[in-house]
């Protein structure tokens, strides 16, 4: 019998970090406004008071500097968590992440256990620089791990796993989910392992492979389609790198039809990588083309009318699924 607490996605992340910091004094936070202010989204509210200024560090506006410092500190045995105020600003730390953090282990045997985390994703009318999903910028880089939870439980378990991981982990929180999701989260010291997808719904007609905020779009669409007796299987990747290839191939082999749904511009997307793998490794089982449903190849538009048009939603997804079932 485990006790549970009702927690939002945001609270779960917060709690996960809090618990790790309580348990492991090597863990510390750095980022802009993470201390006094508790973070732009208040993810770290209360941390400064509780853990003190040594472990909760307000930094200058220096994303590259922050990540670099985290890399150095991690080599000394600490476990830094770097917050990007919005994940879009990770572009300013690109070099440190892909060239420094990601390669030390391979080049000279030095692992770099850091977490870089922050709010990603759209649907909050944040326009081009406060809505990005940067997972595809990094999916190509060996040495990185990338996580993108869709639920409070996963968010808590994965942030704990990310902090304990011995490699650099990029942890992309979907800000649309921060306060929109509330779940019973079990108490206790547990993790959700990096690299494992989760079957969110079983079905035999078609598989939707997705992650993050889109998981909820997929479940919504699946529920709608159920009325017509259509059984949709939904796989929540949870980890973008390394992909859980076994789970991906298993669902493809089961339903023979795969739609990959992600909140990214289509070209060069994570969805493309998933589709390429399914197409190559599950070819014999496929009854229809592996289909991507992502955003169009444009920056994220600001105005709600356009952003709604730009983003996948359940209604559009239902139509895509019906098309694919007719193939």
């Amino acid at each position: 019998m485990t006790t549970t607490t009702s927690q939002t996605y945001l609270e779960a992340i917060r709690q996960g970090m809090w618990d790790e910091m309580e348990q492991d004094e090597r863990v510390f936070l750095l980022g802009q406004d993470v201390g006094t202010y508790g973070g732009a989204f208040r993810v770290t509210a209360g941390f400064l008071d509780h853990f003190g200024p040594k472990r909760v560090i307000d930094t200058p506006i220096s994303e590259s500097g922050m990540v670099g410092a985290a890399i150095g500190a991690s080599m000394m045995g600490l476990r830094p968590i770097v917050e990007m105020q919005f994940i879009d600003f990770i572009s300013c730390a690109y070099n440190q992440i892909i060239n420094f953090a990601a390669t030390c282990r391979y080049r000279w045997g030095q692992n770099v256990p850091i977490v870089v985390r922050g709010p990603s994703g759209g649907n909050i009318h944040g326009s081009a620089f406060h809505s990005q999903n940067p997972e595809s910028y990094f999916q190509h880089t060996p040495g990185l791990k990338i996580v993108a939870p869709s639920s409070a439980v996963d968010a808590k378990g994965l942030i704990r796993a990310a902090i304990r991981d011995l490699n650099p982990v990029l942890f992309f929180e979907h800000k649309y989910l921060y306060r929109r999701i509330k779940e019973e989260v079990p108490a206790g010291d547990w993790i959700v392992p990096i690299g494992k997808a989760r079957l969110a719904r079983t079905g035999r007609d078609l598989s939707i492979i997705t992650y993050g905020a889109m998981l909820h779009v997929a479940l919504d669409a699946a529920a709608r389609l159920e009325a017509d007796g259509i059984e949709i299987e939904v796989l929540d990747l949870r980890t973008i790198k390394p992909l859980d290839q076994d789970a991906i191939l298993a669902t493809a082999q089961k339903t023979h039809r795969v739609l990959v749904l992600t909140e990214e511009q289509t070209t060069g997307s994570v969805a493309g990588e998933v589709a390429a793998r399914v197409g190559e490794l599950a070819f014999a089982w496929l009854d229809a083309p592996v289909t991507r449903f992502c955003c169009p190849d444009t920056p994220v538009p600001f105005s709600p009318t356009m952003e709604e048009f730009y983003l996948p939603n359940a209604e559009k997804l239902v139509a895509k699924v019906r098309d694919l079932l007719r193939y």
Binding site: Q32, T36, A40, D58, I61, Q85, F86, A128, F309
Partner: protein
């Protein structure tokens, strides 16, 4: 660093009733024009605040309350043909360059007739015809870009100056350093105004840098540095004018530090609970509009009626602007797909060389 800016204006809270702002050659008319622009800035932001509270604004609202003089005074020192790269707190500089209040309102409300057609928000729009380059959100990034504008001007022999802004927080970015160093070493006509307003979001300057005065960084690039009372609009005007003239005459870039204070939170949602109330108290006394009014009235450059008249006229104008903006439609959804690439010109980009024929596998590997 030179701190000639110190001679302009006064930071003393106990300044005498007749405000002694910096000395200026500006005529009475131009001073009243400057006053109008300063007032306009505050009043446009006031209207935006109303719209925000009415839930008409999409996303956050960022204002420059208490620091309007920096943007307005500096932009006023430019000539037609010059370029600015305004940040979110520099609405005033955009109004100086002819941006209409409705444009900003429609931007904030994500309307289809906004300068970006609803594609971007707030002050993030540009218009080269009016000499405005839009920044991106990533702080510091516009500095090298404006250095590039200045570089082009120099190469083209155009006598223009590029001016941009950076907050105290933004000075910590790599692009601040790369951009300013590049501008310095290439000796381009560039002016950077560092708006030192005490905070970067919740982070006080002491957590941002170990120095007290940003102007100390000018020496790191071998360029002149000026420190100015950012709440004395005439001082800001004069010090910028000097830098702009030097730049235009081939004297290279200047870094100007304007001391001012952000009289609200970072954005409308932020109650600025982390700012000690005394600081607000102190700086309220140095409000740039109040001070400019005391100067104008004290020196007999304007009567209270003159000022009231200006305010009333702005107010009337803004009613119409708000009405227009509110009545304007949201953009058509499909516009989301438009405008990513500039198409090739109708005549194409040149003669296309026909591709060499492929090797033909059926032909013993010889080109067919």
């Amino acid at each position: 660093m030179s701190t000639t800016g110190k001679s302009f204006g006064s930071l003393h809270p106990d300044s005498p009733p007749v405000e002694r702002l910096a000395e200026t050659q500006l005529s009475r008319e131009r001073q009243l024009d400057l006053y109008r622009l300063l007032r306009l800035t505050r009043m446009v932001e006031g209207r935006l605040g109303n719209l925000y509270r009415q839930n008409k604004v999409v996303g956050g609202l960022y204002t420059s309350l208490g620091q309007e003089a920096t943007a307005v005074g500096s932009a006023y020192a430019l000539e037609e043909g010059d370029f600015i790269g305004p940040l979110i707190r520099n609405l005033g500089s955009m109004l100086v360059r002819g941006v209409l209040p409705r444009e900003v309102m429609m931007q904030y409300m994500a309307r289809g007739l906004s300068p970006t057609g609803g594609k971007d928000g707030n002050t993030h729009f540009g218009d080269l015809a009016r000499g405005i380059v839009a920044p991106i959100s990533m702080l510091g990034s516009v500095i090298p870009v404006m250095a590039g504008v200045a570089l082009a001007a120099k190469m083209q022999g155009r006598p223009l100056v590029a001016l941009t802004y950076i907050g105290d927080g933004g000075t910590s970015t790599g692009d601040f350093h790369e951009g300013l160093n590049l501008a310095a070493v290439l000796d381009v006509p560039f002016v950077l105004i560092a708006e030192h307003n005490g905070y970067a979001y919740s982070t006080p300057t002491a957590r941002q840098m170990k120095i007290k005065h940003i102007v100390a960084r000018a020496a790191a690039y071998g360029i002149p540095g000026e420190m100015v009372d950012g709440n004395d609009i005439l001082a800001v005007y004069e010090v910028t004018k000097k830098a702009v003239e030097r730049a235009r005459a081939g004297g290279g870039p200047t870094l100007i530090e304007a001391k001012t204070f952000r009289m609200k939170g970072h954005a409308e949602h932020d109650d600025a609970g982390y700012v000690p109330p005394e600081l607000f108290e102190q700086w309220r006394k140095k409000d740039p509009i109040d001070r400019f009014e005391r100067h104008l009235l004290g020196l007999g450059l304007a009567t209270q009626e003159d000022l009231d008249g200006i305010i009333a006229e702005i107010d009337r104008g803004l009613d119409a602007e708000v009405d227009f903006a509110l009545a304007s439609p949201m953009p058509p959804p499909e516009r989301a797909l438009e405008g990513v690439y500039e198409p090739d010109p109708a005549e194409g980009l040149g003669t296309i060389l026909p591709d060499a024929p492929p090797v033909n596998s059926q032909n013993g590997g010889v080109a067919r």
